[in-house]
Symmetry: C2
């Protein structure tokens, strides 16, 4: 009865090594809580040096250079996919499911792009496909939405789900550093990849948000359909103005069901009021705020990246699958997407408050002309501050918060203003989320 | 295959009514996510008026005045126990398990007192016994510890797990109200029971903490073994002094594994630094901060009480059991306690920093005598403020924070001081948790 559950690990990078350590060092609690010993039977990686590290920990583990050998093994019940990327990982996960192996993956890109087909394949083969580590590292957002809130109509999910972006914006806020310097510091501290493109452009967050939208709303969403902006345009001055207005700037992902049934999905830096717990999520922490019809506000925070925290999520999934297997049945819990394509609101139709920063000539009449132009477009100013810039350029900065307006109207008004000689540089816009 | 899962509800008070509403209004998402329709087959309550409310919602539900009829019914797969109390609920849950019905309960007192035997009975009968709603209402602390963090060694759990106490301390902080007035306002606002004893004395939190200690540490703990203090002794002046020192006063429950293997378990009001997210958990919100060896810091907050939030947790458990049943096997996930009795640190052995408030004669030499007496006991003052009291009593208040000290030494020193004529009233002590 209490048989052993055997794991095959594909990809032994940072998270994989964390998982190897966890399965070794916490073998006692893991087997107690799973109901049977969980043994790492095989590890595959192209890099022999990584396999050497595994061999040093436990010489009994089979070491392979080809991940596709893992699903073929009779001594593997659960395949853990940590190789990343889409194409090869897709083939690997398919091979595992076809071989009736359960799968745990941390691969948000794979699931966001190919999830629908993979979950169908898992269902057809009677296998589990778990992915807690794909979204927000150690924060159990997948399990909470899928299980704890399973009875609720979820209204919105807002989160800081890219640790690199949050680390950079936090250090800009704390040190007043420019974006490029903060990025470099983050790379040196190991909080940003050598190629951070996917993180700082919002691409990584849009992958995760597609998965969240699938779970929360049953929506079949591709990341490319999600309006996405990175944090590169955020200037230390924006952070300073925001702070003076009572806000922090955070890299947000937003998923909300609108009154008309459409989905408001977006990834962008946003001003968040200091009274919102998201404003206090600093550094490499991630956080997710869920609003449900019954549950009300629910807030989760924790480390969004790092070997040990992410490995905890992978190991939690392994234990869940082990329990399912020991009980004699996979659970095949409800997956994404269940309701097919849904309308996603165009960003031009968004109704929001906005932070605007204008660079203008320091001469009389400019502010009047500016507010006139905004007013003519139906955009009303809530709060405004004007600073004469240092230096002899004769320029000034006007920062303001608007009342609610449609983004299409705001963009059109800003384009018209920037086409005049009122502004000396293009105007910065950051959305307010509250 | 897609058969129906049938629920029998025992006790239709506030949470029960919330559950009836949830199962009706969210039937669509619930059946989609459970994998089969979930039908409320029968409801039992002694109060005919409550049954009338159920009848108005759905006349097809069987209505009974005797909860013990529910486990006997062939058309019930899951028994939901919401009658509360220990003795009758114990017999009811036993009857359900003996009849091979799965059980969902929100009854913290029952599980804290009788959990060990009940979980054994569930195991013996091959039944599930779920209890997410027993701790912290809508916050999924049970599921997160039991599933998401199942691979981790949990080091500490700290939480605000009694909403009534937090509501009272919050309104004392916001309005400067005295404890008695704040309690009365909480009762009028529906945030405190007519008999709030169990909430304000910390008893309710000690029940919940016993369950948390069971899950987090496998410890078999009875609530009576947990050093517990209520919030009745907190004075508006304490909240004010704490704020000036950079702290908030919160009703905390603490569970921590000490270096020597013993458990530090306690329930009491505590000073929490403003930099701690727990300091910002206001009103009826609950929150739990978990520290794991691998996962690092994990923070959860949400509504700790109320019909709909608590019903969400009950319904999530029902859906989980439904999935288990549909998969053909109950999960019988790891329960508490797994490791039997463990040593609980005596409160006198606690090493902590302390907030102390002395009422003294306003005359020279008092402060010197006071700090001398503390110093002689090895208690070192970190921060101190002295206020001459208004009025003509010739008294003063000295509030201070100490460096780390053993509570036994501090209590002995305070007893000695209060035995002299230095103080005009007994000295207030509140622990600092950081």
């Amino acid at each position: 009865m209490k048989r052993e559950i055997r794991v095959g690990l594909c990809g032994c990078g940072v998270i994989g090594e964390g998982l190897v350590t966890a399965l070794q060092q916490h073998a006692d609690v893991i087997s107690a809580r799973a109901g049977a010993p969980i043994r790492l039977a095989a590890v595959a990686d192209k890099d022999p040096a990584r396999l050497d590290i595994v061999r040093a920990q436990d010489p009994s583990i089979a070491l392979l250079d080809d991940a596709f050998e893992i699903p073929k093994r009779d001594d593997v019940d659960i395949v853990v996919e940590l190789i990343g990327g889409v194409e090869v990982a897709d083939r690997l996960v398919r091979a595992a499911l076809d071989a009736k192996k359960h799968v745990v993956t941390a691969n948000k890109a794979l699931l966001a792009e190919r999830g629908a087909a993979l979950f169908e394949l898992a269902e057809a083969n009677g296998c589990d496909l778990y992915f807690e580590a794909a979204v927000a590292g150690a924060i159990p957002v997948i399990r909470v939405i899928r299980e704890s809130l399973a009875s609720d109509h979820i209204r919105s999910v807002r989160g800081i789900i890219n640790g690199t972006s949050n680390y950079i914006l936090s250090s800009m806020a704390n040190d007043g550093a420019a974006f490029g310097d903060a990025l470099k510091a983050a790379q040196e501290a190991g909080f940003a990849e050598a190629d951070p493109t996917l993180d700082i452009t919002g691409g990584d967050a849009s992958h995760k948000l597609a998965l969240i939208a699938g779970l929360a709303f049953g929506a079949r969403v591709l990341p490319s359909e999600i309006p996405t902006e990175g944090i590169e345009q955020v200037d230390p001055r924006d952070i300073q103005y925001a702070r003076n207005f009572g806000y922090a700037i955070r890299p947000l992902a937003v998923a909300e069901r609108l009154q008309d049934g459409a989905l408001d999905l977006r990834v962008h830096p946003a001003l968040v009021p200091q009274s919102d717990p998201l404003a206090h999520v600093d550094g490499a922490l991630n956080a997710v705020a869920i609003q449900g019809a019954m549950v009300g506000p629910s807030f989760l925070s924790g480390l969004g990246a790092g070997a040990a925290p992410t490995a905890t999520s992978v190991a939690g999934d392994i234990i869940d699958i082990a329990r399912n297997s020991l009980a004699g049945a996979p659970m095949r819990r409800w997956y994404l997407p269940t309701e097919g394509a849904q309308e996603i609101q165009a960003i031009a139709d968004l109704s929001s408050r906005y932070y605007l920063r204008f660079s203008v000539q320091d001469e009389s009449g400019v502010l009047a002309a500016l507010s006139g132009a905004l007013g003519d477009s139906g955009i009303s100013i809530e709060l405004m501050v004007q600073d004469v810039d240092d230096g002899d350029g004769g320029t000034a900065t006007i920062a303001m918060l608007t009342h609610h307006a449609h983004e299409g109207d705001v963009r059109a008004a800003l384009d018209a203003i920037d086409d005049t000689h009122l502004t000396t540089a293009s105007t910065h816009l950051i959305r307010i989320v509250e």
